[in-house]
């Protein structure tokens, strides 16, 4: 990386322990407990195995239950009897059992649980791999995953000691944190007296900052995710990348030396970097000319393998870059980015609105169009009624009427709203007025109507200085601040909040921002007076994103860490991006 860590940066804790733990648990569970000898992927098709016993390892989703029930019933029809076992991970839900019961197979199936909650995707990234967390909580108001999050936090604190400093913001965060504290108190003594390995923990709800998650990503790793979709830390590069007829699955993590150096780079630097790297590689290959036999032998045995490996990785990433460039230029990426930046900065709103309209009219992409509409709504405290109606009409005409439900979802989640008439009220006043109108309407609209809040993005942006003042060109090669992850146009709100709180060691002085985020009751600081924490551990920070985080946010915080001598560790319910968020909100025809 162009900016190496400061020499005093603390070491990351060893998360491979989690991997080993999970692997051992799983092997024990499958081999010892359930005598599984062959693994298949659960897909929606008849089971191929002719074994006497079928064992399913599934997420507790209703869809999966239906699938299992259909298999069992199909077997019954065919007059065949076998044993069925369902292992739920991370836990069993009552609703799942009820589905099995209603499908009439509850008696045929035995259930087990595998409390697996943390998957280390990288040296500094832990994922719970629960993409449904976002929709379930932030749209449906379903708290079922909170306990899973609490268990994950508890596991971390038992393995890596207590966290002396805790900060958080958001409704889900607050609830999770309180439940976690209770759990720790109950099991007092386990963590007591342990030296904390990680000095700070910062918890954050995704709905505190939707804006950042909805921006187009331009940092390499984010861009790869946006373009090819990274799944569980690996990506499938299609033939257009590999320039062969086969696709290639590539693990993307710190072990990929080439990737590790470019993952956090702005895309404009990546190509130059890769070609430089290619030249270096060539030079190293060239060294073998003029070697004598002994040197050659040394070269072949020691360096060649590494070089070949590097060569292979290099060609993969160059292929990926080309593919990204091709796609992005086709869709007039520059225009898109320009519009996004205009939205973030709040100028030329009319122009941006027509751009979005044109985007919809031309049927560029349903998800992208939706994303831009949400971005407009979030940055502008909702759409003005005229636009709200016309954009929605256009959208329905372009992409189909079923999206009426999508809009209802977006409104409920507060992602796409209509400006109340005369909406220059402050947040508090608007909240009060909302209550009154609700009452006037004589109904309680929705359980989470309080969650559907207005973004006061502009004011927050000013308070936190999210739009850097640029004199001349922003040098993306040598970034000055976290804004580089969005081409120097915008500092991610979530990351700025974390930076500010860490600097102050509390929310003090950020009252106004917290109020504007509609989180007045939901921001907290919790410090334990413990002097056992070493100065090194105090520079390790665990950031927990409930509802998902993006690679841009990760890159931005990695940058902040390098600047300040911190190391950040990320725990997220799932790695997300704008498309995933929008898809979670979309209603598609079954």
């Amino acid at each position: 990386m162009a900016f190496p860590h400061r020499p005093d940066a603390p070491e990351l804790p060893d998360f491979s322990m989690l991997k080993r733990l999970a692997r051992d648990q799983l092997i024990y569970l499958l081999e010892q407990q359930h005598e599984v000898d062959k693994l298949y992927k659960v897909e929606n098709k008849p089971a191929l195995s002719s074994n006497e016993q079928l064992c399913f390892l599934v997420r507790p989703r209703i869809k999966n239950m239906r699938y299992i029930a259909s298999l069992v019933n199909a077997d019954k029809l065919a007059g065949r009897t076998r044993k069925y076992k369902v292992i739920f991970s991370p836990q069993k839900f009552h609703a799942c059992e009820m589905v099995l019961e209603e499908e009439g197979v509850y008696g045929d199936v035995s259930c087990d649980e595998w409390a697996f909650s943390l998957l280390p995707l990288d040296v500094d990234l832990l994922s719970m791999e629960l993409p449904e967390f976002f929709r379930d909580y932030f749209l449906e108001g379903d708290q079922r995953w909170i306990n899973t999050a609490v268990q994950a936090l508890h596991l971390l604190s038992t393995l890596y000691g207590p966290f002396p400093n805790c900060y958080g913001i958001g409704r889900c965060t607050k609830m999770s944190y309180e439940l976690w504290r209770k759990l720790e108190e109950e099991e007092d003594g386990e963590t007591k007296g342990r030296r904390p390995e990680i000095g700070h923990i910062f918890l954050l709800d995704r709905d505190v900052d939707f804006v950042t998650a909805l921006c187009s990503q331009v940092v390499y790793e984010g861009l790869v995710d946006d373009t090819f979709r990274i799944k569980c830390g690996s990506v499938d590069f299609g033939p257009e990348v590999t320039s062969s007829d086969r696709s290639l699955k590539v693990l993307l993590n710190a072990e990929d030396k080439v990737f590790n150096e470019i993952r956090n780079e702005h895309f404009s630097n990546v190509f130059g970097f890769l070609s430089q790297k290619a030249r270096n590689l060539q030079a190293q290959y060239d060294r073998r000319r003029g070697m004598d036999i002994k040197q050659m032998k040394n070269f072949v045995s020691q360096e060649l393998k590494g070089l070949k490996q590097e060569h292979r990785l290099l060609s993969v990433h160059i292929g990926a870059c080309e593919s990204i460039m091709k796609k992005k230029t086709k869709q007039d990426f520059q225009e898109l980015i320009k519009t996004e930046h205009a939205l973030l900065e709040g100028f030329n709103i009319r122009e941006s609105t027509s751009y979005i309209e044109e985007h919809i009219d031309r049927q560029v992409s349903p998800i992208e169009s939706l994303r831009l509409m949400c971005l407009l709504s979030l940055t502008e405290n909702g759409l003005i009624p005229k636009d709200y109606r016309s954009l929605k009409t256009q959208y329905l005409q372009s992409y189909g009427p079923e999206h009426l439900l999508t809009f209802s979802n977006l409104r409920r989640a507060g992602l796409l709203t209509e400006q109340a008439p005369g909406d220059t009220l402050t947040a508090v006043e608007s909240k009060v007025s909302k209550l009154v109108t609700d009452k006037a309407a004589g109904k309680i609209t929705d359980a989470f109507s309080s969650l559907a809040k207005r973004s006061n993005f502009r004011a927050i942006s000013k308070k936190l200085n999210l739009i850097p003042r640029v004199d001349g060109e922003y040098d993306l090669k040598v970034p000055r601040d976290m804004a580089y992850v969005f081409s120097g146009a915008y500092v991610p709100l979530s990351c700025r909040l974390i930076e500010q709180v860490l600097e102050r060691r509390s929310w003090q002085g950020l009252d106004e921002v917290v109020r504007l985020l509609n989180c007045s009751e939901l921001a907290f600081t919790d410090m334990t007076k413990e002097d056992k924490a070493s100065s090194e551990s105090l520079r390790l920070i665990l950031v927990v994103f409930l509802g998902g985080c993006t690679f841009s946010e990760i890159s931005a915080l990695r940058f902040l860490g390098r600047e300040k001598g911190y190391r950040f560790i990320f725990l997220t319910t799932a790695v997300t991006n704008s498309a995933r968020l929008m898809e979670a909100m979309s209603e598609v025809k079954a």
Binding site: D142, Q397, G400
Partner: protein
Amino acid sequence: MDCYTANWNPLGDSAFYRKYELYSMDWDLKEELRDCLVAAAPYGGPIALLRNPWRKEKVASIRPVLEIYSASGLPLASLLWKSGPVVSLGWSAEEELLCVQEDGVVLVYGLHGDFRRHFSMGNEVLQNRVLDARIFHTEFGSGVAILTGAHRFTLSANVGDLKLRRMPEVPGLQSAPSCWTTLCQDRVAHILLAVGPDLYLLDHAACSAVTPPGLAPGVSSFLQMAVSFTYRHLALFTDTGYIWMGTASLKEKLCEFNCNIRAPPKQMVWCSRPRSKERAVVVAWERRLMVVGDAPESIQFVLDEDSYLVPELDGVRIFSCSTHEFLHEVPVASEEIFKIASMAPGALLLEAQKEYEKESQKADEYLREIQELGQLTQAVQQCIEAAGHEHRPDMQKSLLRAASFGKCFLDRFPPDSFVRMCQDLRVLNAIRDYHIGIPLTYSQYKQLTIQVLLDRLVLRRLYPLAIQICEYLRLPEVQGVSRILAHWACYKVQQKDVSDEDVARAINQKLGDTPGVSYSDIAARAYGCGRTELAIKLLEYEPRSGEQVPLLLKMKRSKLALSKAIESGDTDLVFTVLLHLKNELNRGDFFMTLRNQPMALSLYRQFCKHQELETLKDLYNQDDNHQELGSFHIRASYAAEERIEGRVAALQMAADAFYKAKNEFAAKATEDQMRLLRLQRRLEDELGGHFVDLSLHDTVTTLVLGGHSKRAEQLARDFRIPDKRLWWLKLTALADLEDWEELEKFSKSKKSPIGYLPFVEICMKQHNKYEAKKYASRVGPEQKVKALLLVGDVAQAADVAIEHRNEAELTLVLSHCTGTADAATADKIQRARAQAQKK
């Protein structure tokens, strides 16, 4: 030391027996012991007395009194007996008093005279009445054996898990057996009974006659039999004054003794201990106590008053009106040390220590002697062990002091045995105290374990002592202090005379946040005593909301349970409560409850969405949530309905709901969709092809692509498709068709609302430069440069840019200048720039 062995009585060559006083009893008995039914629990347990047994006084004018005392004679309970005549009393292993009534009903009382429960020994017993009964202990618990008036036996091996077993009949049994007892072999309870000169063994299958090997002849009747504490040995007392001692299996004889007393003894019990040297039986008559074993002589004691024997693991307790004594075989370690003229290492060490205290050099001599023999370790161990077996604290101390003294001369003596003994003795001395009255010996204590001892202290409501012991022994809180506090709290809630507030406060003050204490358990107990309010107050202290829920449900506080479940964050728990509520309340109330609990409501909705769609509709209806109701119908129109009419009907319902929700937009959009659906249907009928479910845009595009321009324009007008969209749409469709003629006609139909750059772009996309150039000329000035560059006319683009004097445009053109062909153009731009700068 010389007088120390004064109360030691030798039996045979090897063993000594000693008897010492545990307590002097001042229990102030009004009756003689012989007039009472007596039961004393083993392991220093309580003593129960039931005065005025019915067999003495036929007149039941005076109600008898049941009294329970501690082993030290402190009254624990006294109650008037109001039930039927009692035949026998006995203590269970849990220290519950079992009172066997004549009618076969067994009443169970607690240590404090609190009635627990009762059970019956069966109809057969009820009909034939109980003649005699025994309470016995097995590995499984405590059993009851009953001899009925029909001379049949019924027994249950575990009263906790009552299974009655009727034993087989003894053939030809006319009268009650002269004596009988229960045996326990191979985990099965048997009964041994004596009828005249014959012995019978009853197991659950058969009755077999048995003969003890080596029984002296001339026996015409057995008067007493005794089984040892561990069921290993059996003793028989015959009418000839002869005692036979052997194994309980009746396979082996150990010894015999003839005491020449023909009077039937009052009691006969074994007095042995684990790894006993000598096996001895204690026989008691009215005024005489005899210890007999494998020796020609017996040990005899005179009994001054009525006494009662209680067999223990390692001896016999003997209590009377005024004293409570313990008789046992002197343990090996004590014997070695204290035996007269003993040269055992322990004895020498004790001597050495005494001399040392006297500051005599003899101490050194003794010590040397032990060390020369290399027996110092052994000596210390002996002293420690012997200390355990001493009852008097001063003797314990002097032995421990000797051990500690000896330890000083040893390099590596692991300290834990010494420390543990000190701790154990401290605990033992504390519980042996008069006020506590549990005279456990060291061996009994070890057999019983500290956990059981703590349970027994709790049973006696000696909470502070129990806690002190836990703290002293540093037991883990969850097993120790917390458990005891929880028991205390459970007792506390039963104090009905104290107000709910006071009890709750007192409990909270004492328990605080002690880990491992479950407030919900205590609350459950309070609820069990009928104190619902107190239970709710106590539940407030329960930190885990999840724990509060089941009890709240049981107490029918479902709504409170619901909010607690929600607090716990455990959705499954919420679910449980919801299902409970659903059954408990009528639908209307259920929905009302949900309405006030947003989280539960959304959970229930989620469930309904998957499982009970109709309920979901009712739920929205109930709430007048027309918006969601509309969405519901919309979803139904896609998912549930196949036919167009059905779908339109669903959409109509949705539209109505949206109007009610004052969501004009959604209503209009839905109506549009209905219109579109019908139209699409018609198009399919008329034109063929696939239209249904396409978006409006796609419908029009399909029409254009199919060459139905008129229809397309009609549709666009009907649905008020904006011009811009229509232009984009047609442009794309015509370019896809590569119908350049039509495209040109279209471009000229009127002024393009989207400009002409898109025309250029789309032509270039289809690689038609010729057509593209046509439109490039029509592109407005601000996009001209871009258009010209697109068609590849760099030179003209440069001209326009220079004309515009637009720096950005110039840069753009310059970036397109590649190769030598454009060198002139590039030059031109540079010059124009230079000129601009000059100005």
